[in-house]
Symmetry: C2
Subunit: 247 residues, 2 copies
């Protein structure tokens, strides 16, 4: 059992709680039984399982397990009541061009980790083939994003990639691209569901970048019937993805 | 300027950060410029405005303002970086029977304050006439619910009321009631949009109570096309409310 916070491995794991540490190593840390199990089920590349105490369910036999003290578990935890189990996973490196994706969600400068995680989960539920995170969107391997996505990180490819080149690639592949905007947009009910589509959701305050909106095939809006100023971006994504999916 | 944390008013306000204090007084506390302005705009019953420092925008002239120290402001704040402005508002007492509502969202034992707030905001956007919170649903005047709803508390009536009697009342008023369920349910696309409808969303883990589901006109489900186990309840509410609204 690892007992010291000064242990080299513990120090490396602790770095994964920062974006810098994740970017540098290409790894990320998931916390809790549910996410750890999802990682194993999905055959994710798991570098290590970290477990407080010395007991382990038998289905985890195949992976390298490091037993640690409660102190170390608490140092790694980002939830208030940690379950004391973690998996160190490798960030998959996926090229959009090699994916042959035909249903894509793109996120432009989304700030809130809960919104990003919920949109990854919703994209998964709606049967998307990929989620592309453009410039200015928070790190998808942030603990709060991982928690909100409830394991969907292991179900579909998540790419960090420039959205201009992504739109370009969609055009070349015959995938219609929909933006979301209040100006120069048509009501979302007019969007015809098709087998292929890409949808761009934008920043919580500013919306989708105007230069991106100029490149789309059509821009959509969701009418507001009451007095609220807007919908939460993840709610809007849910309504639009299911409308475009249309089955 | 009020300077002491022991001031009687300050002690009363502080109690509003707990459910017990809100229930006893029938008041609630909103924090930040946006929510305070929404309360004023909506002609909510405001018992007091609390403001750190001594300056105030002119449009707040008409209301009773208590200037307080930073220490008191921090004691009342439930956000990390408080804007130092608060409004003490009275919880409206509304009788469902007197509302003549025809579009209603009902929440059965929803636990997460962020989900409740987002659903109140979405119900507002979708033009609902009322949100009814049944037994076991967290307090709508909790600070996190208020923040997630972004002012929608002041746009439509929010009632705490038994859902069995609410369904009964809908039936008497010719309002079809839709439940949400995976069993004995039809896909949500089969729900015909109508002028009148009530929708019940259920607990994040357990869903809608089976006894309530037995009383509905129809139960709906949203298909999952990917590998996620479910949709977030607020996302599902958004998809369903806009489907039922149908315009």
């Amino acid at each position: 059992m690892i007992q010291s916070l000064q242990n080299t491995k513990v120090k490396e794991w602790k770095k994964l709680t920062t974006k810098k540490g994740r970017d540098k190593s290409g790894l990320f840390l998931v916390e809790g039984w549910h996410l750890t199990e999802e990682a194993i089920k999905a055959d994710a590349v798991i570098e290590a399982i970290i477990k407080e105490g010395v007991e382990l369910p038998s289905y985890m036999d195949a992976v390298e397990v490091h037993f640690v003290t409660e102190e170390i578990s608490l140092a790694l935890a980002e939830t208030e009541h940690t379950q004391g189990v973690f998996a160190v996973c490798r960030q998959p490196e996926v090229q959009f061009e090699s994916l042959q994706a035909s249903n894509i969600l793109m996120l432009d400068a989304i700030q809130d980790p809960g919104n990003i995680g919920t949109m990854i989960r919703t994209a998964d539920a709606a049967g998307m083939d990929a989620v592309i995170l453009g410039k200015g969107t928070a790190d998808p391997y942030n603990a709060k994003v991982l928690r909100s996505a409830q394991g969907s990180h292991f179900h579909l490819p998540i790419l960090k990639q420039d959205l201009f080149s992504s739109i370009e690639h969609c055009k070349e592949s015959g995938i219609p691209v929909y933006g979301t905007s209040l100006q120069g947009a048509v009501t979302y009910k007019e969007a015809k569901a098709g087998e292929k589509f890409a949808l761009i959701m934008g920043n919580e305050g500013a919306g989708v970048n105007n230069e991106l909106l100029a490149l789309t095939d059509q821009n959509l809006y969701i009418p507001i019937y009451g007095k609220s100023e807007s919908l939460n971006v993840a709610i809007a994504a849910g309504i639009l993805l299911y409308q475009l999916k249309g089955e």
